[in-house]
């Protein structure tokens, strides 16, 4: 990695490599800090009342003040989201492999999947409530329903786009469909699969929070909606902030898994 960077660095560059690298790693933090400062200044300049737009300082104060409920609800949301996401990973992988297995199944089920994906999942929450009552289960299921689609599509695409020549080489040796799937299809679709996890996890948060907001007594979604009905706007923003933190953390985790599992798909960075 460093060797590659070295080669592309023009000789005239005065600043040492390590200094530039640390700026790049610092940049996200600096920009985030900048956003908060800007937000704070804006609130002060426009003299916004905290019931409309609380300043970040006010939001952090709310986080400290309500730490116990925020912590409990954050864990609850993290739990419903990851559970729904985990089911989506298993089901998405299974359905994706099934759909990608043959051109006929792919052609037959793809329009159905698109149609299903076009349904806003919020609209399904009332049905889930009728079936399972309010609480954790609809939140988990909404997270699952909203996040499994990208996984299915990616896995199926990975399978459906095997190079015909690779398939020919194996089929000429007497390979059965199963052999081709195990030796080529599945390893090949893994980068697509791990890539889709990043998208799926963020969608799972959307699903669980939507469901908690309308049909639960727990979770950040519920906490924010009750805070809103009490005009406790700083607490609403505190909830949003916690969601953002959880989202970023899970996304980073998925990106890390992706890099670990499918290094071969990022060829140039591995070449030494």
């Amino acid at each position: 990695m460093s060797a590659v960077t070295d080669n592309t660095t023009p000789v005239t560059q005065a600043r040492p490599l390590s200094a530039r690298m640390s700026w790049v790693t610092l940049a996200p933090w600096l920009y985030t800090l900048g956003l908060f400062v800007l937000w704070e200044l804006l609130v002060i300049a426009l003299e916004m009342p905290p019931t409309i737009l609380p300043a970040p300082s006010r939001v952090f104060q709310a986080i400290l003040q309500y730490w116990s409920p925020i912590w409990k609800n954050s864990l609850q949301t993290l739990y419903t989201t990851t559970l729904g996401f985990a089911i989506a990973v298993v089901a998405g992988l299974g359905i994706g492999l099934f759909i990608g297995w043959s051109k006929t199944i792919y052609a037959g089920l793809y329009p159905l999947m698109i149609g299903f994906n076009a349904i806003p999942k919020v609209a399904l929450v009332p049905i889930l409530v009728i079936w399972f009552g309010i609480g954790t289960i609809p939140a988990v299921l909404t997270a699952f329903l909203i996040s499994f689609f990208p996984i299915v599509v990616n896995v199926a695409t990975g399978l459906a786009t095997i190079e015909p020549e690779t398939e020919d080489v194996l089929r000429a040796l007497g390979a059965k469909k199963m052999d081709i799937m195990l030796k080529v299809g599945i390893p090949r679709s893994m980068p697509y699969f791990f890539g889709s996890l990043k998208i799926a996890i963020t969608l799972a948060f959307v699903g669980s929070v939507v469901s908690e907001t309308v049909a639960s007594n727990y979770g950040l979604g519920n906490m924010m909606s009750s805070a809103q009905s009490q005009f406790n706007v700083p607490l609403v923003f505190a909830g949003l902030l916690m969601l953002a933190v959880e989202g970023i953390a899970m996304y980073a985790f998925m990106a890390w898994i992706e890099r670990r599992m499918t290094g071969w798909a990022h060829r140039s960075t591995m070449a030494q």
Binding site: E163, E165, T166, D168, V169, L170, R171, A172, L173, G174, A175, D179, K183, V184, P187, R188, M190, T262, W264, A265, R267, M270, A271
Partner: protein, 266 residues
């Protein structure tokens, strides 16, 4: 001649159409025989059905008319006595070069059950093949860490690892520079001489065909059939120097003329 006595590959009056009754007629009235141990080359205008011919022989396509007989049996499904190599090396990027070469052994019926217990023996064989093609010590590298020419060499090893009786090569050297190509011609030539394997080579390079083959088949434009058959007279073992002899150039010239004519006739 020996090949007429016991042909390993025999294509008899084959018609092959892609995509249903109104689809493209790729080859029509195709007849061809390749003897055991022979080196055959197929040349012809682009799109005339050369790759189709390869797929017919390996059983990847079953013809609508006529018959293909390989090793005395009518081809109705993929025949596992063949090894194939295409222009595109199609190495799997998540496997090391060595594991890529061992891949056919995980598929072919007669090897797949022995592979685990006799792994060391097979690895040794793969490494020997790598050495033959000049890739000694590269087995642990991933294919994308190799140059195009090196990948093509590894591709040849993969086609040979299960000791096929018949090697089908579809423009395997098309994407290589002239020097690497000549080097690999010699590798193929020596493999053919040492192992007695039957080889069918599809190529656009008429010098390649003339240098390597015992017989050259010239195909017509689509729908493809064999227009003419040449016996290459040069004695084996052939040296690269043979390409600067007059007889060699005359033969290349003649082939060139025939293909140019076949293109115009289309």
């Amino acid at each position: 001649m020996a090949h007429l006595v016991s042909p390993l590959v025999s294509i008899e009056n084959v018609d092959m159409r892609y995509g249903g009754p109104n689809g493209t007629l790729a080859v029509s009235g195709l007849n061809m025989k390749v003897g055991k141990g022979e080196f055959a080359a197929v040349v012809g205008p682009s799109g005339c059905g050369k790759s189709t011919l390869m797929k017919l022989v390996t059983g990847l396509h079953i013809p609508q008319g006529g018959g293909v007989i390989v090793a005395g049996k009518q081809v109705t499904e993929p025949v596992s006595i063949v090894g194939m190599a295409f222009q595109n090396p199609t190495m799997l990027p998540w496997r090391t070069t060595l594991d890529n070469i061992l891949l056919p052994l995980e598929i072919v019926e007669r090897h797949r059950h022995r592979l685990r217990r006799h792994k060391a023996e097979y690895v040794e064989k793969a490494e020997h093949l790598l050495e033959t093609v000049g890739l000694k010590g590269f087995g642990s590298k991933f294919p994308w860490q190799l140059s195009g020419g090196m990948q093509q060499r590894a591709n040849l090893c993969r086609a040979l690892i299960h000791e096929p009786e018949l090697l089908m090569l579809d423009e395997p050297f098309g994407a290589l520079d002239a020097f690497t190509r000549e080097e690999l011609w010699c590798v193929i030539r020596d493999l053919h001489a040492a192992q007695g394997v039957t080889i069918v080579l599809v190529t656009h390079d008429l010098r390649e065909a003339t240098f390597l083959a015992d017989r050259i088949f010239v195909m017509s434009a689509r729908p493809g059939r064999i227009l003419k058959e040449h016996v290459v007279p040069f004695a084996r073992p052939r040296d690269l120097e043979v390409m600067y002899e007059k007889g060699f150039n005359d033969m290349v010239h003649e082939l060139h003329g025939e293909i140019a004519k076949a293109r115009v006739a289309a």
